[in-house]
């Protein structure tokens, strides 16, 4: 294995009886990278994560985590990898610090080191003041932060986070993403899964888009944007004025004009044509209500990709129905 790869999966497959949950996926995660496993619920993200931790059997294929085989050397993997499950749970009757103490004892830290690490970790995630409060009183966001504190305390080289932001309000989400960025700053690799595409777009270096147990697309968000959206610009304009569409089509670089609603137009262009479009509206003495260019978003990439492959979407629909 190469030096800078912390996770390497090749042909990873998981079957539950006849059903295929994960179908021959291959990917790798570099040191200090934030890698996103994205896709709808039931696409096989959590199963992939559990296979990497040795918590579920691998049907076929191979995965190496820090050079260890999780099926054969689970303790070595689990000592070095921190995991925060989907909707992480803690013992409600224990305090935040006591919950971490239990984990720390399971890992095998000695008393003095344990207390130091726990205090530091709680400080980092902003839970130091409620360290001795029972977890029963914690909000969802605080529990998620406590989950991250556990990974920090463990001193993990890889943090695996399953749906870290699901069910959080925007404020708690941005706090959480801030802590996740902090992992990267320390050289900890992060693998996170999510079905909320736009939320995690901002933190991920690279993403793998899951669909029905397969990785449909993989790469950095700008790369995928160029690849799928064709590198063109999409400009939305809302204005009134007769014959505006025809005038706009004459702007150099505009390859198509599409009517998307009453007074709403969408331009396909090979460059940002907003200034020219605005000028056209003004010369026609029309009223410009909206003018915007679409950034390449994961949402758009995802939607576009599956629009282009209706067959696959159809299959996915059948699976969901089943």
């Amino acid at each position: 294995m190469s030096e800078d790869k912390v996770i390497e999966a090749t042909g990873l497959t998981k079957n539950y009886g006849q059903a295929v949950a994960v179908d021959h996926i291959s990917f790798d995660v570099g040191r200090g990278e934030i890698f996103g496993l994205l896709g709808p619920n039931g696409a096989g993200k959590t199963t992939t994560i559990l296979m990497m931790l040795g918590l579920t059997e691998i049907t076929s294929g191979d995965v190496r985590v820090l050079g260890f085989n999780p099926a054969r050397e689970p303790l070595s993997v689990k000592r070095r990898v921190g995991y925060m499950p989907d909707t992480v749970g803690f013992y409600d009757n224990l305090s935040a610090a006591d919950n971490l103490r239990y984990t720390a004892r399971l890992i095998g830290f000695r008393f003095a080191e344990r207390e130091k690490r726990i205090a530091e970790a709680l400080e980092r995630v902003g839970l130091a003041e409620v360290a001795d409060k029972r977890v029963a009183t914690f909000s969802r966001g605080m529990r998620q932060r406590l989950g991250l504190a556990e990974i920090l305390m463990k001193g993990a080289q890889i943090a695996i986070l399953d749906e870290p932001t699901s069910g959080l309000d925007p404020h708690a989400t941005s706090e959480l993403l801030g802590i996740i960025r902090g992992f990267k700053a320390e050289g900890v690799s992060v693998l996170l899964s999510s079905h909320l595409l736009e939320r995690v777009q901002s933190v991920c270096d690279r993403v793998a888009l899951f669909s029905a147990g397969k990785i449909a697309l993989m790469g950095s968000v700008p790369d995928l944007g160029r690849q799928i959206l064709g590198g063109g610009y999409v400009v939305d304009i809302e204005a009134d004025g007769a014959g505006l569409a025809e005038r706009l089509a004459l702007i150099p670089g505009v390859s198509g004009v599409e009517k998307t609603g009453i007074g709403k137009l969408r331009l396909q262009a090979d460059r940002d044509v907003r200034p020219e479009a605005a000028a056209e509206v003004v010369t026609m003495q029309g009223r410009l209500k909206y003018l915007g260019v679409q950034e390449p978003s994961l949402e758009a990439i995802y939607t576009r990709y599956f629009e282009a492959q209706p067959e696959q979407v159809l299959k996915e629909g059948v699976r969901d129905a089943a």
Binding site: L53, R72, L75, K78, D86, T87, G89, T103, L106, I107
Partner: protein
């Protein structure tokens, strides 16, 4: 290929955590009060009865455990209800509780095997039960000393100690069963109901059913019936069937251990009585020998139930 590391790393940590959970839980408070009240109620009845009928009984102290008065059952029969209930109460949500609190996958992502988690939970439950039973035992012996005023002999102490150990084993059987169902059923309420149902079946219904089933398979011989005797074949089959229930096994052991005059557990043939001095007590070693198969069977049952739970747990998916 052998898996790396010890299956027992983390065992002590899990056990101590579970033990402290048990000992501080509301459930435990209830059990403690139940223990004290049961001891008082049973002793009250026994001591009244013993005072009324004090004969020259060489094993007066053991009567504390087995004597009952009017409507109050004896201490031993109280225990045979209480112990399974305590064990089920401690074990019914041990694994599915972790599932439902969504702590299981987080804990299993730490460098321990599932073995340590399950075994640690079982040991913690057993230690908790042992603590309750030992304190109950000491309470009864202490109160007995005070109220009867006759110190027990060495043999009586030894017998009552064996009784304590057997009771802990019996508790282990029900604890292992409760944990098996806590692995099998995701809902704690279902697990508790199924375990309690099985306990009712095994303790109250099975002994009756065993007789009926035995009579169907081996119909009683009219010649024996004419003499008002049980047909040996039917009686033996009935006993074999009844012994499938741990409750029967426990009751038989208790009879052999706490009543030194017990010579056999089962039908006695006339030939076996030749030369026997009826009513003469047996030494402890002989009583143990009589009860030994039952004791071994109970230990084996507990182990088999635990192993069954272990196998299912190992293969179970951890995701919620």
């Amino acid at each position: 290929m052998q898996r790396e590391g010890s299956a027992f790393s983390g065992l002590g940590v899990v056990m101590l955590k579970e033990l402290s959970d048990h000992l501080t839980s509301v459930r435990m408070r209830v059990l403690e009060w139940l223990v004290v009240l049961v001891a008082l109620a049973a002793l009250y009845g026994a001591i009244q009865q013993i005072k009324d009928t004090t004969a020259e009984d060489p094993f007066l102290f053991l009567r504390l455990f087995t004597t009952s008065r009017d409507s109050l059952p004896s201490f031993v029969s109280f225990l045979s209800f209480l112990v399974p209930l305590m064990a089920i109460g401690l074990g019914f949500d041990s694994v599915n509780g972790e599932h439902n609190r969504r702590t299981l996958s987080r804990i299993l992502a730490q460098p321990i095997y599932r073995d340590a988690l399950l075994f640690g939970k079982f040991l913690a439950g057993l230690v908790t039960l042992s603590i309750s039973l030992v304190s109950l035992w000491l309470l009864v012996i202490g109160l007995g000393l005070l109220l009867i005023g006759i110190p027990p002999g060495a043999e009586e102490i030894a017998r009552s100690f064996v009784f304590l150990l057997v009771t802990i084993v019996y508790a282990g059987v029900w604890l292992a069963l409760a944990m098996l169902f806590s692995v099998l059923f995701r809902s704690a309420a279902t697990a508790a109901l199924v375990t309690l149902g099985l306990w009712l079946l095994m303790t109250f219904i099975w002994p009756v059913l065993a007789g009926a089933v035995a009579q169907i398979i081996v119909p009683p011989d009219p010649r024996y019936m004419a003499l008002g005797l049980q047909t040996p074949g039917t009686a033996e089959l009935e006993q074999i069937l009844a012994r499938l229930s741990p409750s029967t096994l426990y009751a038989e052991v208790i009879v052999a251990i706490l009543d030194p005059t017990t010579r056999a557990l089962g039908p006695i043939y006339l030939s076996q009585l030749q030369g026997a001095v009826l009513g003469a007590p047996l030494p402890l070693a002989s009583s143990l020998l009589i009860a030994w198969p039952q004791i071994v069977a109970m230990i084996a049952t507990a182990m088999m139930l635990f192993v069954a739970g272990y196998v299912v747990f190992q293969r179970q998916e951890v995701r919620a």
